[in-house]
C-alpha cells in the first residue's frame, strides 16, 4: 500500500531524512518510532504531501505523492499531533468544512457515522474548545476518517491522554485495522507501539535503523534485562540467553533480572533514552 524508496530530505545542510526505504502492506499497522529529531515528523510530512522529497519517491496505492498529489490526498487521512481543529467552531462545523474540502457526497450521513463511531454524537453542537483533550483527539481521528481513506496517518494519537482514554483510542485503531485501513502511526509510548503495531520501524538521525515486529525487535536486542545497582545509577545489560543473564545477575548484590521490554530494545538500538 505504501512504498518508499531512497527518501532524502534536507533542511539547509542538515539531513532530516536519509535514504529511507519502507514498504507497508494493506491493512497493516506500522509504527514509526524514534527519539525527538529522528526524522519521523519530516517523513510523515512527505508521506502526507505536506512536504516534497529532495530525492527518492513515495507511492501510495501505486500513486506518486508528488506527481499525483491530489489523487493521493483523496486516499489518505491525517490526524496530526497538534490539535489543528477550528476551536471556535462546533464539532459539526469542523466536520462540514472538512467534507467540503474533500467534496464528499452524503456529507451528513458520513458525519453522523463518524461521530457515532467515536462516541461524539452528543457533542455535535459543542464548540471544540469546550471539549476535553480526549474528545478533541477523537474528533481529529474522526475528521481524518470522514473521507473513508485507505491509509491513515496518526501522529502521536494518544499523547497527553489519560490511560483510560488511550485504551479507547487503541480500540478504535484496532477496529480500523480490522476494516482494512492501513495505518502508519508515530508514538513515544512503547506500550502503545507494542499493543497496536504489526511492525515497527526504528528511526534515528534521519535513518531507518531496523524494521521488524515488536516481538522480533525485543529478541534481536536481547530477551532478558539485568539491572545492576551502581554507585552512580543503574547499569542495564541486555542478554540473549537466560543462563548468561542469571550469571550476570548473581555477580552483583541487588541485581534484578526481568524480561526485556520494547523500550529496552528501543534504547539499545537507538542508543537514546
Amino acid at each position: 500500500m505504501i512504498r518508499v524508496q531512497g527518501l532524502v530530505k534536507q533542511y539547509g545542510n542538515k539531513p532530516a531524512v536519509h535514504n529511507l526505504d519502507l514498504e507497508i502492506a494493506q491493512g497493516e499497522i506500522f509504527g514509526l518510532l524514534g527519539p525527538n529529531g529522528a526524522g519521523k515528523t519530516t517523513t510523515i510530512r512527505m508521506l502526507t504531501t505536506l512536504s516534497r522529497p529532495d530525492q527518492g519517491s513515495i507511492h501510495i496505492a501505486g500513486l506518486d505523492t508528488v506527481k499525483d498529489r491530489h489523487a493521493v490526498r483523496m486516499l489518505i487521512g491525517v490526524a496530526p499531533q497538534e490539535r489543528n481543529l477550528d476551536m471556535e467552531l462546533s464539532v459539526q462545523e469542523n466536520l462540514s468544512i472538512f467534507a467540503g474540502l474533500y467534496n464528499l457526497d452524503h456529507t451528513q450521513k458520513r458525519i453522523d457515522n463518524c461521530l457515532a463511531q467515536f462516541e461524539l454524537q452528543h457533542e455535535r453542537h459543542t464548540q471544540v474548545d469546550k471539549l476535553s483533550g480526549g474528545m478533541q483527539r477523537r474528533l481529529l481521528i474522526a475528521r481524518a476518517l470522514l473521507s473513508q481513506p485507505l491509509v491513515l496517518f496518526l501522529d502521536e494519537p494518544s499523547i497527553g491522554l489519560d490511560p483510560q482514554i488511550r485504551r479507547g483510542i487503541w480500540d478504535q485503531i484496532k477496529v480500523l485495522r480490522n476494516q482494512g485501513v492501513t495505518i502508519l502511526l508515530t508514538t513515544h509510548y512503547m506500550d502503545e507501539a507494542e499493543m497496536l503495531c504489526d511492525r515497527i520501524g526504528l528511526m534515528n538521525n534521519g535513518a531507518l535503523l531496523v524494521t521488524d515486529t515488536p516481538r522480533n525487535l525485543q529478541i534481536t536486542a536481547g530477551s532478558y534485562m539485568v539491572e545492576t545497582p551502581q554507585p552512580d545509577g543503574i547499569q542495564r545489560t541486555l542478554c540473549h540467553d537466560r543462563q548468561q543473564a542469571e550469571e550476570l545477575a548473581s555477580l552483583a548484590a541487588g541485581a534484578i533480572l526481568r524480561p526485556a521490554s520494547l523500550e529496552d530494545a528501543f534504547i539499545a538500538l537507538t542508543g537514546q533514552e
Partner: protein
C-alpha cells in the same frame, strides 16, 4: 454542507463567531471611525477643498482605507495564524481541494469583510454628514471591489510567506499604514512635490482613491481600473503559485 467554496464557508463561520466579540469590532473599526470623527468633525467644518467640504473628500478615502485594512488583515491574519500558530491551514493544504479554490475562498472572504467594514464606516458617515459624502458611482464601486480583491490576495501571499506572526505587524506598520497616509486618503496628492507625486500615484490605494472620488469613467479612472485589475490578476497568480508550491 452547503455547496459553496469550503474555504469561504470556513472563513464566514469564523467571522460570524468573531464579529460578535466587542473587542474584535473595536480593533477593526476603531481607527477609521476615529479618523471620521476627528478629521470629519474637527477639520471637516473648517476646511474646504476645491470649493467643497473636506468631509466630502475624506469619506471616500476612509472607505477605501477601511476596505483595504479589513481585507488584508483577514487574509494575512487567518492564513498566517492558521499556518504558524494553530496549524489549521494544514488540513486545507493536505486536502484535495485545488489551489484556485483556496485562493477564491480567501478572495471572497476578504471581499465580504471589506464590505462589512467599509459598510459600517459608510453608515456612520451617512449618519454624521448626510448622503452627500457617499459616492456610489460605478467607478467608486469598481474601485472598492478591486481594493478588497487585491488586498485579500496580498494578505494571502503575506500569510503564506511570513516566518513569524510579528511579520504581519511589520508589513502593516511599514507598508499598509504609510500607504493609507500617502495615497490621497487624507490630503490630495497634488499637494506633494511632483517627483514624489508620480511615485505615490503608482500605489494601488492611490488608484483606488482616484476611483472613489470619480463619478464617471474618465480616462484617468479607466487607467486606474486597468492598473488595479492588473495588480489583482498578478496577486491572484502569485498567491495560486505559492499555494501550489507550498511545503513545510
Amino acid at each position: 454542507m452547503p455547496s459553496i467554496n469550503p474555504v469561504f464557508y470556513r472563513e464566514m463561520l469564523l467571522l460570524k463567531k468573531k464579529a460578535l466579540r466587542l473587542g474584535y469590532l473595536f480593533s477593526t473599526l476603531l481607527f477609521p471611525l476615529l479618523y471620521l470623527f476627528a478629521f470629519g468633525w474637527g477639520l471637516g467644518s473648517k476646511v474646504r477643498l476645491d470649493g467643497t467640504s473636506y468631509v466630502v473628500f475624506l469619506v471616500p478615502g476612509l472607505l477605501a482605507m477601511t476596505a483595504m485594512n479589513n481585507s488584508f488583515n483577514l487574509s494575512a491574519g487567518s492564513v498566517g495564524m492558521g499556518r504558524l500558530y494553530s496549524r489549521t491551514i494544514q488540513p486545507i493544504l493536505t486536502s484535495p481541494v485545488g489551489a484556485y479554490r483556496v485562493v477564491n475562498g480567501y478572495l471572497m472572504a476578504g471581499i465580504v469583510r471589506g464590505i462589512i467594514g467599509s459598510g459600517i464606516v459608510a453608515f456612520a458617515a451617512f449618519l454624521l454628514f448626510g448622503s452627500q459624502v457617499i459616492n456610489l458611482s460605478a467607478p467608486a464601486v469598481a474601485g472598492l471591489t478591486l481594493t478588497m480583491a487585491f488586498f485579500s490576495l496580498l494578505g494571502l501571499i503575506v500569510g503564506l510567506l511570513i516566518k513569524d506572526l510579528e511579520d504581519i505587524a511589520v508589513i502593516t506598520n511599514f507598508v499598509i499604514m504609510p500607504m493609507a497616509f500617502f495615497s490621497g486618503t487624507f490630503f490630495p496628492l497634488e499637494t506633494v512635490p511632483v517627483w514624489l507625486r508620480s511615485l505615490l500615484t503608482l500605489l494601488p490605494l492611490s488608484q483606488v482613491n482616484l476611483l472613489m472620488r470619480s463619478h464617471t469613467f474618465t480616462t484617468p479612472a479607466l487607467t486606474a481600473v486597468a492598473c488595479l485589475t492588473l495588480f489583482t490578476a498578478g496577486a491572484y497568480a502569485v498567491s495560486a503559485y505559492y499555494l501550489t508550491q507550498f511545503q513545510e
